[in-house]
């Protein structure tokens, strides 16, 4: 029976400038702007590193982490934090909401509520987590390269995006990584990959129940339809859902590139996957990047 350890400190977040001061002054005196109350400055309040991703006084903490990651904690429910962040200059490309009460268990499978936001060439994923009665939104840059899906009906090497949604270290030798992805061919999904470390190399534990890959062929937005499918407990109209499981020739590796131990990143390669319904074989290659790792220890 596992117990869990949630280590906020693992994030090793660093203090950043909470306010991105624009250093501006008005020519006319603005006596009304003085003082510490609301409307007290002329700063544009954007998330550091993400101009135009605005927040207001409801955000009680904004912490910059490694790899461009930023955590915002708001004294509000997660749907409200979602509304605030999507009301800035960034455009909402996709959004996944989950039914109330399932967020905890879903997170273990790499499924988290979140937003995909775009501005120009920038594309970020914001993962939401209710923390007590606060909500924390974690902003991370998505990865654009190294996505490939092969097999019948799959596009092969594809342009798209991949967002790492969860990284959970179980004891010292196992790392579970959850990734959302989508391609220009409208084939995307979610993968949860249990990796086992031995002698510095990672293999994917094909026998683990934690391994899961759901692929959706859709016509709109993969996160939106995946959220609908998750809520409905099955496929939704207009969406083809395929569950891929390790087949007889399954092989899975994870290349974890050199870097700080608590921020693994690299490539997940899964071959010999079999469609649970048709038996057709498929392979998937996805990049991942963990700006933070939660730690779970078995009791």
């Amino acid at each position: 029976m596992p117990t869990t350890t949630r280590k906020a400190s693992v994030l090793a977040v660093t203090l950043s400038a909470v306010l991105a001061l624009a250093g501006c002054t008005d020519d006319e005196p603005t006596p009304g702007a003085a003082g510490p109350g609301p409307d007290s400055g002329t700063a544009r309040v954007s998330v550091t590193g993400y101009p135009g991703l605005y927040y207001d006084e409801s955000a009680v903490a904004v912490l910059a982490g490694p790899s461009g990651q930023v955590q915002l904690t708001g004294a509000m429910a997660c749907p409200d934090l979602d509304a605030m962040l999507s009301a800035g200059q960034w455009r909402t490309i996709d959004r996944i909401t989950l039914p109330a009460g399932v967020a905890g268990l879903a997170r273990l499978g790499g499924v988290v509520p979140g937003l995909l936001l775009q501005r120009g060439d920038g594309l970020v994923f914001v993962a939401f987590e209710g923390v007590g009665e606060l909500c924390t939104g974690t902003v991370t840059q998505v990865q654009r390269d190294g996505i490939a899906l092969t097999g019948p009906g799959f596009p092969g090497s594809a342009t798209g995006w991949a967002a790492t949604t969860s990284c959970i270290r179980v004891n010292a030798d196992r790392l579970n990584v959850g990734v959302y992805f989508d391609t220009a061919d409208k084939i995307g999904g979610v993968v949860n990959t249990p990796m086992v470390s031995q002698d510095g190399k990672y293999t994917v534990d094909g026998a683990s129940d934690d391994l899961g890959l759901t692929v959706l062929t859709h016509a709109s937005h993969v996160l939106e339809v995946f959220g609908q499918a998750y809520a409905a407990g099955g496929a939704v109209e207009g969406v083809t859902m395929r569950i891929l499981r390790p087949g007889p020739s399954f092989a899975g590796t994870a290349t974890v590139e050199a870097g700080e131990a608590d921020r693994p990143h690299g490539t997940i390669s899964l071959s010999g996957l079999a469609d649970a319904e048709t038996g057709a074989e498929a392979s998937v290659t996805l990049p991942f990047s963990c700006p933070a790792v939660q730690v779970m220890t078995t009791g």
């Binding site: 029976m1 002054t25 609301p38 409307d39 007290s40 927040y55 409801s58 009680v60 004294a75 606060l134």
Partner: protein, 667 residues
């Protein structure tokens, strides 16, 4: 698509705009007033300069123009505002007729903006004049766009996604980005849950929103305007209520030659105007099943110009709000007046405009009022203060009005011959004085001109024109009067810092049930308070409830050694904290001294604000400011689902902290 607009900034000026500018230069050369610091020719030249180096992306260009409007010299700021309006689809025109600048492609032909009024618009925007969202909604109702005022949530929902559509019109992207950026510069975000009391629209935002919500669209053509001598027939040609077909080809008609309204592309392609603000607003309303709100929206056609022009003209009514001190402290001695603050509102009509009368467009026939102090006008006062708590005799405000001025709050204050009205406010007296930490609060005062008063009689500014145009003038008059009397004038605020002594109370409290997949642990809790800020010491209790039997069963599953003894256990806690680090503290050990229940207190970095919010903690709402997190650990581990993480909140009162009493004196 023939009228797909090239990215703005790729070319600074289209040949058409250059032609128009040339016309303006010729026209302005005929005037004898070169003293106006923001004359139209300078404005046009400034627009060219501020356009240089702007990003190609309309939204990013709009953000830079907003920065220029707020930060640059008044002349450059006016040019930036004019360019921002132009890129947002609003033509910039002179009161005498010539067109200063046209948009690149799509034009909001109901909303030409008088170049002469742009400096006033900039001044008021920089001075943080404000319209509440409800005031703007009232304008939209007044012009007939809606049959009831849109709610704060409906307006902000519409604005949140506006102008972000792929392939949308650059004028939408520009206007929308500008509206959001102007709020962003104030640290505000326009979204449904934003604080309605403090989240507002400035005059520039209001012009953009009203214009885009109510204007019709045309396509800019290549025709060259040819100004001719101004005749009576020209006066009412233009847009607005008094829209009329041009037959004379005079200066007022030049604008009409620059766009067409029945372009087949517009008619044939329903996507051409997708993402327009009116549709966004209708969509926001539709979510609430109230489609009928927009059933009569065609009534708004043609009224945008008169509405926004009248509002811009009224921005000449300046309210300057000052205080004899920017901050004060609670009194240490009753009767002292040194801590009193006197607020002064100066009301003037001060619009820098060369024209004596608006000859063309929506306010044709309007005379510009004489500049000077506004005597005998009523100033309305109101205040918004952070929550002080409820331990104060006579209320919980940091500042209240002295008794001699109390009627000014209830009935308003009349301005004197110098245009000034004052309000004296005072803080309470501490008892005991100077005890405890020095705490910081604030009080914001808002002054507005009474909506029943205007800086001039509306009837006086509309010249009496006879003949066939009398009806049109009357319609304009009625519209402007209705809009202004219902929406009122923008207000001004000032914030006073208020320091005081008392307890700096931090409460770290929470309880919960540990839900694991196969096990359940009943109530574990921590209840801590510091009366001296986040450095502590924190004192209180922690432990668990529930039956021992239940604990033993679940503890075996978890491998936890629970303490021996009866049902539940409680521990007295007291420990200092380091605000810069995680502070793990022991709550209680299990059997054999093994790790059982611990807690971690961590604090957020110091924030720039102390503004309170409503915080829900264990089903109880608190008013305070979250300053950190409390986490309860079981056997050294915590819950992956975050079920045992709670906000640490700075509050204003807690029975465990010694209360400093505050009471107002009679001074």
């Amino acid at each position: 698509m023939r009228h797909t607009v090239s990215p703005q900034g790729r070319r600074r000026w289209s040949p058409l705009v250059a032609t128009v500018l040339a016309v303006v230069l010729v026209a302005s050369a005929c005037t004898d007033d070169n003293s106006d610091p923001a004359s139209p020719d300078q404005l046009a030249d400034g627009m060219s300069h501020v356009s240089q180096g702007l990003p190609a992306d309309p939204g990013r260009a709009a953000e830079q123009l907003v920065d220029s409007v707020l930060d640059d010299s008044p002349e450059r700021a006016a040019a930036a505002a004019a360019e921002l309006l132009r890129r947002s689809g609003l033509p910039v025109v002179m009161a005498t007729g010539p067109v200063v600048a046209m948009p690149d492609a799509l034009v909001l032909y109901d909303s030409p903006v008088y170049a002469e009024l742009i400096p006033a618009l900039v001044t008021a925007t920089r001075a943080r004049d404000r319209y509440t969202v409800d005031q703007v909604a009232t304008v939209l109702t007044s012009v007939g766009l809606t049959t009831r005022n849109l709610t704060f949530a409906e307006v902000t929902t519409a604005l949140a996604d506006w102008g972000k559509t792929d392939g949308g019109q650059p004028v939408f992207a520009t206007a929308a980005a500008a509206v959001r950026a102007l709020s962003g510069r104030r640290g505000q975000v326009l979204y449904p849950r934003a604080d309605e009391a403090t989240t507002y629209l400035d005059p520039l935002q209001t012009v953009l929103v009203v214009a885009h919500a109510t204007s019709r669209f045309g396509l800019v053509t290549g025709a060259n305007p040819t100004p001719k001598a101004l005749g009576l027939l020209d006066r009412l040609v233009g847009t607005g209520v008094a829209y009329a077909e041009d037959e004379g080809g005079g200066p007022c008609a030049a604008f009409l030659a620059l766009f067409e309204t029945d372009d087949p592309v517009v008619k044939a392609n329903s996507d051409f105007l997708k993402d327009q603000l009116k549709d966004r607003m209708a969509g926001a309303v539709l979510k609430e099943g109230a489609k009928e709100v927009f059933d009569k929206f065609v009534e708004a056609w043609g009224k945008a110009g008169a509405s926004i022009s009248a509002m811009m003209l009224m921005l000449g009514a300046r309210l300057q709000l000052t205080a004899d001190k920017t901050g004060t402290h609670y009194k240490h001695q009753a009767g002292s007046k040194a801590e009193h603050v006197t607020l002064t509102a100066l009301a003037t009509f001060d619009i820098q405009i060369a024209a004596k009368k608006l000859e063309c467009y929506a306010l044709a026939g309007v005379s510009i009022p004489k500049a000077g102090p506004l005597e005998g006008f009523t100033i309305r006062w109101s205040s918004d203060q952070d929550q002080r708590g409820t331990i104060q005799e006579g209320g919980n405000a940091h500042l209240i009005t002295v008794s001699a001025d109390s009627a000014k709050v209830t009935h308003g204050a009349r301005t004197g011959a110098d245009g000034k009205a004052t309000l004296e406010v005072k803080p309470p007296v501490e008892d005991p004085p100077g005890a405890g930490s020095e705490l910081k609060g604030w009080a914001t005062y808002t002054a507005s001109l009474d909506k029943e008063n205007f800086p001039f009689e509306l009837g006086d500014i509309f010249s009496v024109l006879g003949g066939p145009f009398g009806f049109a003038v009357a319609k304009s008059f009625d519209l402007v009067k209705d809009v202004l009397t219902r929406a009122g004038l923008p207000s001004q605020t000032i914030t006073i810092a208020v320091d005081y002594h008392g307890s700096d109370i931090i409460v770290a409290k929470g309880h919960g049930t540990v839900e694991l997949i196969l096990a359940r642990i009943d109530d574990v809790y921590v209840d801590l308070v510091s009366c001296t800020g986040i450095a502590g010491p924190f004192t209180g209790t922690g432990g668990f409830g529930g039956s021992t039997t239940e604990w033993i069963r679940t503890a075996r599953l978890l491998g936890i050694e629970v303490p021996d003894g009866g049902a539940g256990a409680v521990a007295e806690l007291s420990f200092p904290t380091n605000p810069a680090a995680d502070n793990q503290f022991l709550i209680m050990k299990g059997a054999g001294g093994k790790q059982f229940i611990d807690g971690v207190l961590s604090f957020y970095p110091p924030a720039s604000t102390t503004q309170v919010v409503y915080v829900k903690n264990s089903d109880v709402w608190q008013v305070g400011r979250p300053v950190g997190e409390l986490e309860i650990l079981i056997a050294g581990n915590s819950n992956l689902f975050g079920a045992l993480v709670f906000p640490v909140v700075r509050v204003t009162a807690d029975p465990r902290c010694k209360a400093v009493k505050y009471a107002y004196d009679n001074a």
